[in-house]
């Protein structure tokens, strides 16, 4: 009798636990009021270049800290990865399909209120999240080893033409990319260039892509401009930039579609931050060479 009673209790507890884990806590990202009520801003980020360093510092970390201070709430960093970052914000598991996105599920637990991690504005991402004003200019370059027979292009002055020139030289060249990210080769129509597309493992650190090229694991790699600039400083004479594979892009903070107020609050904050000149100082702190390539950025 006693054993049966105990068994019933255990079953009851397990059932409750199962339900609590399976039933989604929230089916949408938190809005401004919820963030204010919770008293914490949860920042979704991935260790990536100088946006978020291994020490959990960086441009986006400081930006979010300032935003939390602006809201009057605490700041909380929530580490994620490229495969789950959108789901951690929206609660929806997605799969990019070119410029479109496929929703795989909507039971993903929401772990953050905002994505700020050198997050490139991509067409498919726009469909699932709301992006803020551009916080960082970028683009995608093709990088190769210094001794690679692949030669850098001669700039034409028009980026579209430069992209074509790059693609023309990719026949028989292996190109490393990262799926479902801004470095996804599928985003840049490389499949028809004759290049051999290689996918970087999703569970590896993105910062290891360029070392992989230097280690001759691949001929070339796609890399966004900020990271490429840092790599050029870090490994001078060992890598070279062949040219662009994308037009100019932008990075921004991403908010859930269900958090328009929060997104608006960020835009207000960001506008004030730019006008005060503090954001430019912040960018120069982490990416001092950015304005060489993007002198118009933050000009207005």
């Amino acid at each position: 009798m006693k054993c049966l009673h105990l068994k019933n209790i255990v079953m009851f507890v397990l059932t409750i636990m199962f339900i609590s884990f399976t039933i989604p806590q929230k089916s949408h990202g938190r809005e401004l009021e919820e963030v204010l009520e919770a008293g914490t801003l949860r920042h979704l980020g991935i260790v990536y270049a100088n946006f978020i360093t291994k020490e959990k510092t960086g441009l986006d970390v400081e930006l979010m800290q300032l935003f939390a201070e602006h809201l009057g709430v605490k700041y909380e960093f929530v580490e994620t990865d490229w495969q789950n970052v959108v789901a951690d914000l929206t609660g929806k598991d997605v799969r990019p399909q070119g410029e479109h996105v496929e929703i795989l599920g909507e039971n993903h637990p929401i772990r953050g209120d905002v994505i700020a991690t050198g997050f490139t504005i991509l067409p498919w991402r726009k469909k699932i999240v709301n992006f803020s004003e551009t916080t960082f200019p970028t683009g995608i370059w093709l990088l190769a080893r210094a001794d690679s027979p692949l030669q850098p292009i001669t700039p034409t002055g028009e980026i579209e033409k430069d992209v074509e020139l790059v693609k023309q030289g990719l026949a028989g060249v292996s190109v490393l990319g990262l799926k479902d990210s801004c470095l996804d080769p599928n985003l840049y129509a490389l499949t028809g260039t004759g290049a051999t597309i290689e996918t970087f493992p999703a569970n590896r650190d993105l910062n290891e892509m360029i070392p992989a090229v230097m280690a001759r694991m691949t001929d070339t790699t796609l890399m966004d401009v900020p990271v490429a600039l840092i790599a050029l400083e870090k490994w001078p004479g060992e890598i070279k930039v062949i040219g662009p594979v994308s037009p100019d892009q932008g990075m921004a903070c991403a908010f859930a579609k269900t958090s328009p107020q929060l997104s608006k609050a960020f835009d207000t904050f960001f506008k004030k931050l730019k006008s005060s000149g503090k954001y430019k100082q912040l960018v120069q702190k982490y990416y001092p060479s950015l304005f060489i390539y993007y002198p118009e950025f933050l000009m207005q």
Binding site: A146, P152, P155, D162, L232, E233, P236, K240, I242
Partner: protein, 545 residues
């Protein structure tokens, strides 16, 4: 010892001519020595000043050489740095500025800016500008963005060289000293790092930092002999006619001084020297007005003037010495006289004391003598008293006898008795007169003997008077007294009582001597008195001192 020295000095001073001559010789020798020493000192001072300028010039040139060497090494390090090499390597890889090279240039610019900011001396920046140029002279990086171009870079490819470039652009008032470091990649010149030095810092800390601009001046000159900078035209050698040609004529391999006569209007001479600066196509030039080193007068002029002055001083000194010598002599004499006066005063005091003491003693002695005399006299009187008593006793006996006879006679009557009484009375009166005479004589003797008053008396009377006093006494002692008087009157000026006392004492002594002999059963001797004058003189002296 001081007194003996002063005495010797006084002796010397007592020969003024010799002393003055000696003083002239000594002073002349001393002043001549001073003049020679002064002349030598002036010459040595000039040499020392020149030496100082030389050392200063060489020191500054060495410092400049070291400074430029350090700058070259610094620039070479920057040119060889990874940041600079990366750019050229990336460029050699074919990268374009649009896609990657700009980053390298940005990094290089940050490096050059850091160098501009950090390289300073006491807050003064060393560099004014830093460039990175390619082999075509195209400016790749301009650290300051002033728009100034390294004008000396030509479009022609230059070989690898670490020469420093010095350009003096006086027409456009641009003075620039530039250093260049080559950027070499894989043994090939790919570019240059150009640095413009901050002229003000260079001059303020290495060339001419003298706080006193009136002394030696310094400046840099290039290989053509052109002075790099000379702010004050009045102070600039060019103004005085020191042309580039003259500067280049100065020996380069060693330090030397030359005198360059200037324009007639100024009529000044300058001493100029130049020293090459290591590692640079520059010289350090120094110039100073000759009068600054040598002074307005040459050493010989100074010597002559000093000689004249020395003579004047010598003359004055000798005069002063002479005056002082005389003063010293007088002073010495005065001191000596004072000393003697003091000695005399002391002696006087001592003498006075002695005199006083002697007077006192003499007084006492006189008193003692008087007492002695009185005592002797009293003793004499005492001695005389016996004689006097004896002399008086006789008449007294006679008087008594006659008195008794008279009484007896009185008892008898008659003429015969009357005549006897008269005779006896006359005898008594004679005897009484005799006693009176004796008593008066003794009174006078006691009163007058020893006095200094004298009277003219006959010595025979004095002798007789003395004999009368002792005659009876001699008889009573059974002594025979014989006299031998002077046959005639013998008048002398004496105190008769003092002489009588002498004779009395002689007779007493003779009596005692005879009686002494009689006791010894010796023959009695007679007292033979020598002639009275002899006795008077000799005995009187002995008895009365």
């Amino acid at each position: 010892m001081g007194d003996s020295f002063k005495l010797k000095l006084v002796e010397l001073f007592q020969r003024p001519r010799l002393f003055i001559l000696l003083a002239y010789i000594v002073m002349g020798t001393y002043l001549g020595l001073l003049m020679v020493i002064n002349f030598q000192s002036q010459v040595a001072l000039q040499k020392s000043t020149l030496k100082r300028i030389q050392l200063n010039l060489e020191k500054r040139a060495f410092s400049l050489g070291y400074f430029f060497s350090e700058r070259k090494h610094g620039l070479a390090s920057i040119a060889a740095s990874n940041d600079v090499s990366s750019y050229f390597i990336n460029k050699s890889l074919g990268m374009s500025e649009a896609y990657g090279l700009k980053v390298s240039l940005f990094v290089i610019k940050q490096l050059l800016l850091k160098t501009l900011r950090e390289k300073s001396i006491q807050g003064d920046p060393i560099y004014r500008q830093l460039f990175l140029v390619d082999t075509n002279g195209h400016v790749l990086v301009d650290a300051v963005d002033e728009g100034l171009e390294p004008f000396f870079i030509t479009s022609e490819k230059e070989s690898i060289s670490d020469d420093s470039i010095v350009s003096v652009d006086r027409e456009r008032n641009k003075i620039r000293i530039a250093l260049r470091a080559s950027c070499v990649v894989k043994g090939e010149l790919v570019g240059s790092l150009i640095a413009f030095l901050n002229i003000d810092t260079l001059y303020n800390h290495f060339v001419d930092f003298s706080p006193n601009p009136s002394l030696d001046r310094y400046d840099l000159v290039n290989r053509e002999g052109r002075i790099i900078r000379c702010e004050d035209a009045e102070q600039c050698p060019d103004f005085y006619g020191l042309t580039s040609m003259k500067i280049n004529d100065l020996p380069e391999d060693k330090f030397s001084l030359i005198t360059i006569p200037l324009k007639a209007a100024h009529d000044k001479n300058m001493m100029v020297a130049r020293v090459p600066i290591d590692n640079m196509p520059l010289h350090l030039l120094s110039w100073v007005e000759r009068d600054t080193i040598t002074g307005t007068f040459t050493p010989w002029q100074s010597l002559l003037g000093t000689g004249i002055l020395a003579l004047v001083i010598l003359f004055g000194i000798v005069k002063m010495v002479t005056f002082n010598t005389k003063n010293l002599i007088l002073q010495t004499r005065y001191d000596e006289s004072r000393r003697q006066q003091n000695v005399l005063a002391v002696k006087n005091e001592q003498l006075k004391y002695e005199i006083t003491r002697r007077q006192k003693v003499e007084k006492e002695l006189e008193e003692q003598r008087t007492l002695q005399v009185r005592s002797d006299r009293l003793r004499s009187l005492g001695e005389m008293a016996a004689g006097i008593a004896h002399e008086l006793n006789q008449p007294l006996v006679g008087v008594r006898g006659k008195a008794e006879l008279t009484l007896l006679a009185l008892a008898q009557r008659g003429e015969v008795v009357r005549q006897k009484i008269e005779t006896n009375m006359r005898t008594i009166i004679e005897q009484v007169d005799r006693m009176v005479h004796i008593i008066d004589h003794v009174r006078l003797f006691a009163r007058e003997a020893g006095k200094v008053e004298t009277s003219r008396v006959d010595l025979n009377d004095i002798v007789c008077s003395a004999l009368n006093l002792v005659m009876a006494q001699f008889k009573s002692h059974d002594l025979q007294l014989e006299r031998s008087l002077a046959p005639c009157e013998l008048y002398v000026l004496v105190n008769p009582f003092s002489v009588e006392e002498v004779i009395f004492n002689l007779l007493k002594n003779a009596r005692d001597a005879v009686e002494s002999k009689k006791k010894k059963q010796e023959k009695a001797i007679g007292l033979i008195l020598p002639s009275v004058p002899e006795v008077t003189n000799r005995k009187t002296k002995r008895m009365y001192g």
